[in-house]
Amino acid sequence: MREGLGPLLVLIGAPGLICLLTLVTVLFPRIAGAAQRSAAAMPGRSLLLGVVNLLFFTALVVVLTAAGERASSRSGVLEVLALAPALVLAAGMTVGLAAMSALIGDRMVPQRGPISQVVIGAAALVLAGLTPFLGWFLFFPYIALVGLGGVVIGLFSRVPEPPA
């Protein structure tokens, strides 16, 4: 029963992820644009920032969850609090992946419109991420971390917009 679940998840999840990434760039164009420019201009620094923030937020989730499990009354407050950093991390990664989709689309089909670029970039990203082992453990995590770092740089420092 569970063996047939993988292809079904891919069939539903892949188009869903492409739509999600497209909608994120449409709904949050400024932060996605800033993250895209940061990741394009400083990929190494973006990667390092992505790693640092992933470690921090993961550790925060683990600390809050573990502290909640140790608490005597176990009211569940800390476990609920642990969801906050997890949601922040998920939001940052989603915006980062959307920015990376736009960047990939811009480089693949520069003559197309911005929405087409994001859709094509997201499709390429998701399909490449489905590649066994290389896609799962190298390409997709790398892109997600660079995107997350790009979001952090886009939020905290100023990256000049390109001339119109």
Binding site: R30, F56, V63
Partner: protein
């Protein structure tokens, strides 16, 4: 010659007349005035020569592209979150996280909840319902998170290791972000 006492068009009106940017009535008025006014005719000729001279001049290419510096100097439309404020927020969250286990283990949380419930039963029925709802929500979330397969359950971790992990992560985050983001901040300060 124009009649004595007739108001002369202003410099801006004459320029707009030359460019054909005046509205139809004003264009006619200025044209009629210029026909009868020697001073305005001469001024109009001077302006015409000046515009012709400007247009005949070649475009000079700048030796340096200033657009990136100008764009950097412009205020960004994106609202930036100051790093210091974020660090303060992180410190506040860390303090709250440190205080919550104590609140949880000391039984004060339960006392507070009982006090709130007692307060609610004295007449604030809606608040009482809200407290009960929040309690049920926390219980439901706890049950959901504890469902096998949704989230991996953690093995028991000693308290000292929990704080060591949290502290190391906070230090790594502050130092890493400070170093990696600091360069752009320093660059911004160095800019004249």
């Amino acid at each position: 010659m124009s009649e004595p006492g007739t108001k002369h068009p202003t410099e801006a009106e004459l320029q707009a007349y030359l460019d054909g940017e005046l509205q139809a009535p004003s264009q006619t008025t200025v044209a009629e005035h210029v026909l009868g006014c020697l001073a305005c005719t001469r001024r109009l000729e001077q302006l015409g020569s000046l515009f012709a001279l400007i247009e005949s001049m070649p475009d000079l290419a700048l030796g340096k592209d200033l657009s990136p510096e100008v764009l950097r100097a412009l205020p960004s439309g994106l609202k930036r979150l100051p790093l210091l404020a974020m660090l303060e927020a992180a410190a506040a969250v860390a303090l709250a996280a440190l205080g919550l286990p104590w609140l949880d283990s000391s039984g004060l949380g339960g006392d507070l909840a009982q006090a709130l419930q007692g307060w609610g039963s004295t007449g604030l029925g809606e608040l009482n319902q809200l407290v009960a709802g929040l309690n049920a929500l926390a219980g439901g979330l706890r049950q959901g998170l504890a469902t096998p397969g949704i989230l991996p359950s953690l093995p028991p971790i000693p308290a000292s290791q929990i704080w060591l992990l949290g502290g190391s992560a906070a230090v790594l985050w502050a130092v890493g972000n400070g170093l990696l983001l600091g360069r752009s901040v320093i660059r911004r300060k160095e800019r004249p």
